[in-house]
Amino acid sequence: MLCVCHILVVYMIHTTCEVSKMTAAISVQGLDKSFGSKPALDGLDLTVAAGEVHGFLGPNGAGKTTTLRILLGLLRKDSGAATVLGMDPWRDAAALHRRLAFVPGDVSLWPNLTGGEVIDLLGALRGGLDRSRRADLIERFQLDPTKKCRAYSKGNRQKVALVAAFASAVDLYLLDEPTSGLDPLMMAVFQDVVREAHAGGGTILLSSHILSEVEALCDHLTIIRAGRTADTGAFEDLRHLTRTTVVVETAEPIDSLAWLPGVHDATIERNRAEFSVGHADLNGVLEHLVGLGITTLTTSPPTLEELFLRHYADTSVTQLEADLERVA
């Protein structure tokens, strides 16, 4: 009996593993990479399930591009595990790349080829692209494909890379700050294109600095800091970890709120108070305020910017402390 149970448990664990392996488009555990003595990635974890639009956030130099280059097999990991679409990105690079498309952040093209030629070349190297989709994307991005690449601006070079990537239907799109040179109109087109690729069953990993874009597109999020995963999960879950901003007016004057657990940054003017409060302590604070007779109340959920800045600010403080220590 015990034996049967045991087998059952093992079987269940096994199948769970199989399932999670199958549904993870990208799976990275404990990834390390250093350039000389300078560590770029320091035990990074990243899991992107199939069908997700996954935001990849972090300050400059945090290791986003290094991660993407390892996932593409352009750099070799020092240690840790990385699988993309169930394959080893270094060993199975060519086979893997038939199923993914990549848009680099700093697009460098062949100066004497036209944009149209580059789109066809990159498409053909991946194993072909959809002609009507190509025409449609060129139209929507308002790209002139007859111009030589040396005549393109940064934004136009980025459009060439975007058209080349999205003109083929692949399973996974790796996008490294793909819109940093685009105008707001073209950013809207980009967002539509990403949604279409997502609706078509594609998985998207979007490294970006533009928080509104990540907020608009991504359902999952990973924040990386100094080569390490600072936070990861579904966007909605992450929101709960941060504070809600509350603006309240009461019938009775508010004396102090700072003594209440979980209250931060409180400013009080007689009957009006503005403060932020942690998710877990919201109820207690509101109970206290109800006692004072609430007349108006607005609460705003945490924005991505706050989420990001919280991690970013931590980095700065840690950095500052490290600097101070070194000086001392």
């Binding site: 280059r69 593409l72 097999g73 352009l74 750099l75 070799r76 690079a93 060519a94 086979a95 790349h97 038939r98 993914l100 498309a101 990549f102 680099p104 700093d106 460098s108 093209l109 062949w110 100066p111 004497n112 080829l113 036209t114 149209g116 030629e117 580059v118 789109i119 066809d120 070349l121 990159l122 053909a124 190297l125 991946r126 194993g127 002139d144 494909p145 007859t146 111009k147 030589k148 040396r150 005549a151 890379a161 080349a164 790796l174």
Partner: protein, 536 residues
């Protein structure tokens, strides 16, 4: 603020960027000249030796293509053997320096950043020119010193240095102009290099059409030489008259070019060129849709340039073959020594084939170093992010380059055979023999290709300078230069192992060199498959 505001600051910036590059150029050039001078002093102990060797250089039209003998002294002989090489290198140094600080700055957007500061419209060009001219002004006495320490007369040594640096200064002017004409750094360098090739060819033809004085030790040139700055440099005749007044001609030539370039620079838009930008195809042709198509497309302009140059050189060299048949005296001795044949015509053709192999090697190095440029500029990333693997990408470059090199060698051999056949009035078998000899020379070229692939894989950041140095050493050790070095060192050059048509084609050498080339490529590939990509 005037047109030149900010020039001083930009000069300091250029010097800061170039402090190692220019210092290395100056030291290597001076070091090489000191080495050669010492070598010639060593190998020509008696005046009789000097006389014999000088007559050889002066009397033969083929040697005059590359020299203008100016009397029987060790200094003059050293100059007739090496002057044009140094003049070409000084010109290349100047062209690269000017383009680096003008058009390359515009192409990368650095000029925009600088131009937004308090900087006049002519400041960028002026700074580049001042630095390049300054490098040549420093080069002249350094080269002079290199010969003085070799025991040569002071006046002649200084004239030698000045004549080489003057060619560098002239091509500073040429590059200043081409930087205004072309929109890309590559185009500006290409135009200036093409001008250098034409100047070299014109002066070579002028020297060949000239003759030799009654004593047989002083060659003189015909009128075409006066159309080329390299021809003026020859005519300065270090150790054989020291015609300093020709520096005036150089100054006037450079001045006119710089003034023209300056006018264009002030009047044109940032980033624009005088040659208009054309649009191209909206879709890639079927030929471009693969790594091989891309590799070919990237090297096509260089290939076509070399095709024209090698066909031209081949026709010219072939047409003077008649004078080779009657070669006697010291020339005969030299050929008998290096090539082991008494048939002067065969010896002459062998020299041409080795020379063709060396020229094609330059093309091969250029074409394969493009791999490093693709990697450094970030253009390799999108390719390797597609279904193309590293091996296929490298092989696309290696195979297109090998094919291009083969075509170039055969075209050169055919061109020589055509005019040589006409000149000799007997072309029976010449076409076949020379093409066979050219094919036998191919494995040596492929070894150079293998070396470049291995360097690209193992030392990506240093591959460009190291590859050129390796090629330079291989060329110096080839039979063409007949240096007095020990046998094992001479054998280290891939060009030392095939002497057709003077001798039978050595199949052992063919197989051994092909094996070496394949091993180098395979080793390079294995290494490249393991390493990280490294940008700029």
């Amino acid at each position: 603020m005037n047109s030149f505001t900010g020039t001083t600051r930009l000069i300091r910036l250029a010097l800061r960027r170039d402090r190692f590059v220019l210092a290395a150029w100056l030291l290597v050039l001076a070091g090489l000249l000191a080495m050669f001078t010492a070598m010639f002093v060593d190998s020509l102990p008696a005046q009789a030796d000097v006389l014999r060797e000088t007559r050889l250089m002066a009397g033969n039209a083929g040697f005059r293509m590359l020299s203008l003998a100016s009397g029987a002294s060790v200094g003059a002989y050293a100059m007739s053997r090496t002057w044009v090489t140094f003049a070409l290198l000084a010109a290349v140094m100047s062209v690269l320096c000017v383009v680096r600080h003008t058009r390359q700055n515009e192409e990368t957007g650095r000029a925009e950043l600088l131009g937004a500061g308090v900087v006049g419209p002519a400041a960028g060009l002026t700074a580049a020119v001042v630095v390049a001219l300054g490098a040549n002004v420093a080069l002249a006495p350094l080269l002079g010193l290199a010969m003085i320490v070799g025991g040569q007369p002071v006046a002649g040594s200084l004239a030698a240095g000045a004549s080489i640096a003057a060619v560098g200064a002239a091509f500073t002017g040429v590059a200043a102009l081409t930087s205004q004409l072309s929109r890309s750094a590559r185009g500006a360098t290409g135009l200036a290099t093409a001008a250098l090739a034409v100047a070299f060819l014109v002066s070579g033809v002028g020297n060949m059409l000239g003759g030799v004085d009654a004593g047989g030790t002083v060659a003189f040139s015909a009128w075409p030489s006066w159309l080329s700055p390299i021809g003026w440099g020859y005519e300065m005749r270090p150790f054989g008259g020291d015609h300093w007044w020709l520096l005036g001609l150089f100054a006037a030539f450079t001045g006119v070019l710089l003034a023209t370039a300056g006018r264009l620079a002030v009047r044109r838009d940032l980033g624009a060129g005088a040659l208009p930008e054309r649009t191209g195809r909206a879709e890639a042709s079927a030929a471009l849709r693969g790594p091989f198509g891309l590799a070919w497309r990237l090297q096509r302009p260089a290939f076509l340039g070399w095709l024209v140059a090698l066909a031209g050189f081949g026709l010219i060299f072939g047409s003077v073959s008649k004078s080779a048949r009657t070669m006697g005296g010291s020339a005969r001795e030299m050929y008998e020594r290096t090539l082991g044949t008494g048939q002067m015509l065969d010896a002459w053709f062998t020299m041409l084939i080795v020379m063709g192999g060396i020229a094609v090697s330059i093309y091969v190095v250029q074409a394969l170093l493009r791999m490093r440029e693709e990697e450094a500029r970030g253009r390799l990333e999108p390719i390797l992010s597609s279904a193309v693997g590293r091996t296929r990408w490298v092989l696309s470059f290696v195979l297109t380059t090998a094919l291009g090199g083969t075509v170039l060698l055969l075209v050169f051999a055919t061109a020589v055979a055509l005019t040589a056949g006409l000149a000799l009035g007997d072309s029976s078998g010449l076409l076949l023999d020379l093409n066979a000899a050219a094919l036998a020379e191919l494995p040596a070229v492929l070894v150079i290709a293998g070396l470049v692939v291995a360097l690209f894989a193992v030392l990506p950041r240093r591959a460009v300078p190291v590859a050129w140095v390796v090629l330079g050493v291989a060329v110096l050790l080839s039979p063409l230069f007949d240096l007095d070095v020990s046998q094992w060192l001479a054998d280290a050059s891939p060009f030392a192992h095939q002497k057709a048509p003077a001798q039978e084609i050595g199949m052992v050498a063919v197989v051994a060199l092909l094996g070496a080339a394949a091993t180098l490529v395979a080793a390079g590939l294995a290494w490249f498959r393991r390493r990280d990509l490294s940008a700029g």
